[in-house]
Amino acid sequence: MPKQIAIYGKGGIGKSSTASNVAAACADEGYRVTIIGCDPKSDSSITLLQGRRIPTIMDLMREGIDIKEEDIVFNGYKGVKCLEIGGPEPGIGCAGRGIIVAISLLKKISRAIEDTDLVIYDVPGDIVCGGFVAPVKKGLVNEAYVLTSGEYMPLYAANNICKGLSRLEMTLNGVICNSRGALNEEKIVSEFAKEVGSQLLAFIPKDVLVQTCERDGYSVIEKAPDSQIAAVYRKLAKSIMGKRDGKIPVPLDDARLRELTRI
């Protein structure tokens, strides 16, 4: 059984960058990796595919295609299997339902989520509706990670996600800090992680190199393998692949959360 993880966090906090760099780092280590983008924007795997956009499951469904695995699974950096669920244009339809439908399709037709060592679900935003927890509810995820910075709003979102996870009786296996340069950031996120019953797995410093590589369509692992930031992602990848038990998180109340960000 592969390690199946979901990365949650506030929109724009860097989930896709983290997911694709972790995927690339694990591929470097010789692991077979599958990454599944659950965001309607379908940008989770783009930096593993040299900037190429792949057809999403929802695109094909809309066109009335009888979907086979080879239509939706694309080989990216070092054989990382890339899939994008996609979804409707902003403001119409129901992206959550799209995820539910895509997940049941994947369960039926995809070997890429079974014959592999690591499956990463890159899930958009906070847990906003039933659809966005479909990978967890349908039993396709056995570890969850929360990505946040040390600022109040991303932490607020992270805490909300912990609420969702505890309702689903899903374990939280680690908190990752993607730094935005807030004061005492590592300390704040580390304390948050401890208080919800988890631990800080990595502190990813703000580095313009990540954006530069992304703009060209690459992960830093591929484009700048010897950089410091690449080493941070490698360390995080190793930590994720190592065996670790998670705990069902205990969310904080809002007063405590506010207090925490004032350290």
Partner: protein
Amino acid sequence: MPVKKEKEPLIMHPRPSSIVAALYTLRDLDTDVVILHGPPGCSFKHARLLEEDGMRVVTTSLDETGFVFGGHDALVEVLEKVIERFNPRRIGIVGTCASMIIGEELHEAVTQVQPDVPVIEVDVHAGYRDNTKGVVMALESALASGIISEAEFERQKALLKEATLVEKRHGAASKEYLEPNRGDLKYKVAGRLLELIKQGKKGLNILNAKKETAFMFADINLAVAQVAQKLGYGSNIVNMVNLDDNVGLPKNRRNAREIKDDLKEKGFEIHHIIGGLDEYPVAGNTADRIIGEKYSDYDFAVISGVPHALPMNNINNMELFSVTNGPRQVVPLKEMGHTHVVVEIDLHPKTLGVSHIVESEFGATLREMVKDA
């Protein structure tokens, strides 16, 4: 390269619902109570009809609040109440459009309540083109809970595929919109049929009905045999029925037996069994083969139930009298070449909750017209 599915014809006519199809399948599996997880109005008409048939159907009555905040607690509450109130031996939980769109997990409630009887969960909504999808989903779940065998599941699946094709070819799914039509006047059609019988013409009397609808369709075949007998031409009529009681889900076998017993008691001789009550999509092929071998020179045929499932090969030259319960089946049957098409309006509701043959209008008309013969 991705392969595009063949473009299906537009559906602008409301179609039989997959949710309802799942409900009927659960009934055939002898489920005692089904919980519809969704709004109180969903599938209400069929839910009530099925109660006539002995299966309780209740709802979790999701409202706006439920749509927004989820219906897990409501489902748990109703499930607990159902166990306490009805003491069922087998429970079904069926999804609806609303609960499925918001991503409700039926299984979570079952895990929480832990009933000590089997629960068949069907994650179904009504957004499928063919309602047979609801049947397959219910059967899949029954298979997973060990209620039916793999062999029965495969058999059912093959039949459903045929049923879908039958409807696409000449049935309710054959056109984007079908006008309802009351069919030909029963009095006139009965008159023509009696005329042929009196002329000593040879006729086939075929029952090819879907499940419990046979309780009324069989009355038509019974009436045809009775009037022919009364007119002294009983031996000119060959009876074929899809009443094999050794196949199908429990209820279908039971019903086949009940109808056969009634027919026997009334002196109806079954010459050929062409299949079981769930084999209406394929029993027509068996009938077709028998007709080709033995009766291709017959003059007329009365076909009740699903007449459009009978291939035209060997009955092309006969005068055809078909009896359907679908007002939207009239035009397709006429187009196939059926000379007379009679509709038994509202047949289905009258065949729920019964264990004996129910009188049909066309049967009653035939009997009335030979009363003084």
